[in-house]
């Protein structure tokens, strides 16, 4: 995703915590106007990567630039363009929800009161409650409100929906789609709930052990991996199926279910025809793609 208009550029970023290589020579460009799904197992380096972007972490080697400024030197001017929801979001427990909103909004000249009120209504947030007394789900809703109400150009969501109930998650995804209608906005979302993420993302970053395994559009990824079901039309299936890039295979004598990579629909039909099989092709879900790439 190399782009001259990138709002975030990471060059040879490495970061080590003791014996753990959290980030390993990462190169990345993030262009505006996308919803990027950042996927990876626990400890893959997702949160570390996101924290480098906003300058909370500093790399051991390499350089991270956000909005054209070294992430370590981000000033209020640049940070006012970034919204961040953290998975262990720190909020000020002694304030009421209303007070916390007033406190955070005081820092932003472009705080959108209408959006704030709409969000409070839509997500059923009780503004009189004390922040420390909120349930994890309510805290997460509040953290999201604080991150979006000043309409940031870059919204970084680190496990934002893990504590939300299904209805709130659905509304949250709608909200993301609403936010991205402004072409200048960019959202990076890291989540383990892949069924939700796949509804909104248009770009994927898949990480494993501090490295980026994939950095491509979601459509390209969906075209790359397909699941095919081969059913023999006459006798048993051949012992060796004529596919080279098989990611996963489950078969018996007459039927095989394969996950294959880098084949066009025509190629797959031709291969099936050659071994006298009926073929059924279906795209993979993001979860299945993730398992194929990172598993």
């Amino acid at each position: 995703m190399t782009n001259a208009n990138s709002i975030v550029q990471l060059r040879n970023i490495s970061r080590r915590f003791g014996r753990i290589q959290a980030l390993d020579n990462i190169d990345l460009d993030i262009s505006p106007g996308k919803i990027i799904g950042l996927l990876g197992a626990n400890g893959a380096g997702k949160s570390t990567l996101l924290r480098h972007i906003i300058g909370l972490y500093l790399p051991d080697t390499g350089k991270c630039t956000t909005f054209g400024t070294d992430a370590a030197r981000l000033a209020p001017k640049e940070l006012a363009r970034i919204g961040y929801v953290h998975q262990e979001g720190e909020l000020l427990g002694w304030m009421s929800v209303k007070q916390l909103i007033r406190y955070v909004s005081a820092y932003y000249s472009n705080w959108n009161r209408q959006l704030e009120e709409k969000y409070i209504d839509d997500f059923d947030i009780s503004i009189k409650d004390r922040v420390g007394a909120l349930s994890p789900g309510q805290r997460q809703k509040l953290a999201i409100l604080l991150a979006i109400a000043f309409e940031p150009e870059l919204l970084i969501l680190d496990e934002p929906a893990s504590a939300l109930d299904p209805i709130a998650r659905s509304r949250f995804l709608d909200l993301l789609l609403h936010i991205i209608q402004d072409e200048k906005r960019t959202i990076i979302i890291s989540s383990h709930i892949l069924s939700d993420v796949e509804k909104v993302i248009d770009h994927t970053l898949i990480m494993r052990k501090g490295k980026i395994l994939r950095d491509c559009s979601f459509d390209a990824l969906r075209e790359e991996f397909v699941k095919v079901t081969l059913t023999s039309l006459n006798g048993d299936l051949p012992a060796d199926l004529p596919f080279e890039n098989i990611v996963d295979c489950q078969r018996n004598n007459t039927k095989a279910v394969l996950t294959v990579q880098k084949y066009s629909q025509d190629q797959l039909h031709d291969k099936a025809k050659a071994i006298n099989c009926d073929i059924e092709i279906r795209p993979l879900s993001l979860e299945e793609i993730y398992k194929a790439v990172a598993g």
């Binding site: 909370l56 981000l74 209020p76 640049e78 940070l79 006012a80 720190e90 427990g93 004390r130």
Partner: protein
């Protein structure tokens, strides 16, 4: 391995408990020596030792009970009572054996006092256990023990204990048996596990664990949603008016933001302020009789500030960058130091008029004259607080180590000052100008180190816990 054995393993698996074991292990021989020599305070040492041991072992059990997983452990319901009895009987037997050396005229009295000590030990043990199980923040109950030990001698508590345990042995044995029976019934109740499962709880060694304390406070806030005061509207307005961005982002916004986060709630709690002085005034009346020891009040802010957050490693992202975090943290540190110094100095100033009014006390033939605190020591918190804050910034991940380092540095500083005083290198006392220069230099040095460390962390280090 039985479930009870697995629970008993906690006694050596918890590294923090080793510290307690070493402490109790060091005190026990002294207690035994006191018993053998028939010294005063031997009964007090025995009672306090068992009470403290009960506190920490019971805390281990509550920690297990508070974990949701222990609720679903099969056959775990009867373990707490067995665990507590195992320890209680063992420590009481130990002290009972020690009291076989208690100087008594006859063998029968030897044996009876020893048996009486055993049952008295179980009474103190169950008292300690009850306090821990009853109060969520039980550490404060343990803190009372040293105070009782120090002032117990004026109240003749040791003699009282001795009279009761040795002379009224029959009553002690009878009440000990009853207490043990009631304790067994109390800790065997079927709903024990349900009562403590998931309960907000500060463990034996959580006093310096900020995350645990924060979790505990959050849970307590949730329980007492309406009872706890919040920021007063005029306080909020005062700070928000200064934070609000009118002319574009500037550092002052973030300084006021940091001050609001640190002092917003404190400034709103007028009743707590009144309560503080209501507690402090009688304390000042008492402190004056401690002689130079009263000046310990000047050291307290330097220790108490160890757990204070300067919001350097905060993930609540407002639009402040690293530079803004630095100035905000520095301002909060300076404001806290000035406030604490002002309060302590005011307290010291209040002891001056008290000196003229407080009477001379005579307790057991010993005279106690009220002396005002030395107000000229006001510079101590000004120097100590940046040192503590520097250590807290460096050792933020290891709160117990941080506290240890803070204590070591201050003890070292006191030793050095004492050593310098006894060295014959100063033929005459330094004059006031010299003292002012020396104190100013120390003050500047402390603050320069703190500022340098804070700036290094804010600008060059990761800002996530």
């Amino acid at each position: 391995m039985t479930i009870l054995q697995a629970n008993l393993k906690h006694l050596y698996q918890r590294k923090g408990f080793w510290l307690i074991a070493i402490g109790l292990g060091l005190v026990a021989p002294m207690g035994i020596m006191a018993i053998v020599d028939g010294e005063q305070a031997s009964f007090m040492v025995f009672a306090a030792w068992i009470y403290i041991a009960a506190g920490f072992t019971s805390a281990l059990q509550v920690e297990v009970l508070a974990r949701p997983f222990s609720w679903s452990l099969p056959a775990h319901a009867g373990i707490p009572v067995k665990f507590l009895f195992c320890i209680g009987i063992s420590v009481s037997l130990f002290w009972s054996a020690a009291f076989l050396f208690y100087p008594a005229p006859t063998l029968a009295e030897h044996l009876l006092s020893s048996v009486s000590v055993f049952f008295a030990g179980t009474i103190f043990y169950w008292l300690g256990a009850w306090v821990v199980f009853r109060f969520p923040n039980w550490v404060s109950a343990i803190v009372l023990v040293p105070i009782l030990m120090v002032y117990g001698r004026y109240l003749d508590l040791n003699a009282l204990l001795e009279r009761v345990i040795v002379d009224a042995w029959f009553a002690v044995i009878l009440s000990g048996g009853l207490v043990n029976f009631l304790a067994w019934r109390h800790w065997s109740r079927p709903h024990m596990a349900r009562k403590y499962c998931g309960r907000p709880w500060l463990g034996a060694f959580d006093a310096w664990n900020k995350a645990k304390i924060s979790e505990f406070q959050q849970a307590r806030l949730a329980q007492k949603n309406k009872a706890i005061p919040t920021v007063l509207p005029h306080v909020e307005k005062f700070f928000l008016d200064r934070i609000t961005d009118r002319t574009g982002p500037n550092t002052a916004q973030y300084i006021w933001g940091g001050l609001y986060r640190s002092f917003g709630l404190i400034a709103s709690r007028k009743k707590d302020c009144i309560r503080f002085w209501l507690v402090m005034l009688p304390l000042l009346c008492f402190l004056g009789y401690m002689g130079p020891g009263a000046n310990i009040l000047f050291i307290m802010p330097g220790i108490m500030v160890a757990n204070m957050s300067l919001h350097v490693r905060s993930t609540l992202l407002v639009s402040g960058g690293r530079t803004e975090r630095f100035w905000s943290a520095l301002s909060v540190a300076a404001a806290t130091t000035l406030l604490a110094t002002a309060i302590v100095t005011l307290m010291a100033a209040l002891t001056i008029p008290l000196q003229a009014t407080m009477p001379e006390l005579t307790i057991k033939g010993q005279s106690f004259v009220y002396r005002a605190m030395e107000i000229k020591l006001f510079f101590i918190p000004l120097c100590m607080m940046p040192v503590t804050l520097t250590i807290a910034l460096i050792f933020y991940k290891y709160p117990r180590l941080m506290m240890g380092v803070v204590m070591m540095i201050f003890v070292f500083a006191m030793q050095v000052s004492w050593f310098l005083r006894i060295l014959p290198i100063h033929p005459k006392e330094p004059g006031p100008i010299q003292i002012i220069i020396i104190i100013t230099l120390i003050l500047l040095c402390c603050w320069a180190i703190f500022t340098a460390v804070l700036r290094h962390i804010c600008m060059r280090r990761c800002l996530v816990r």
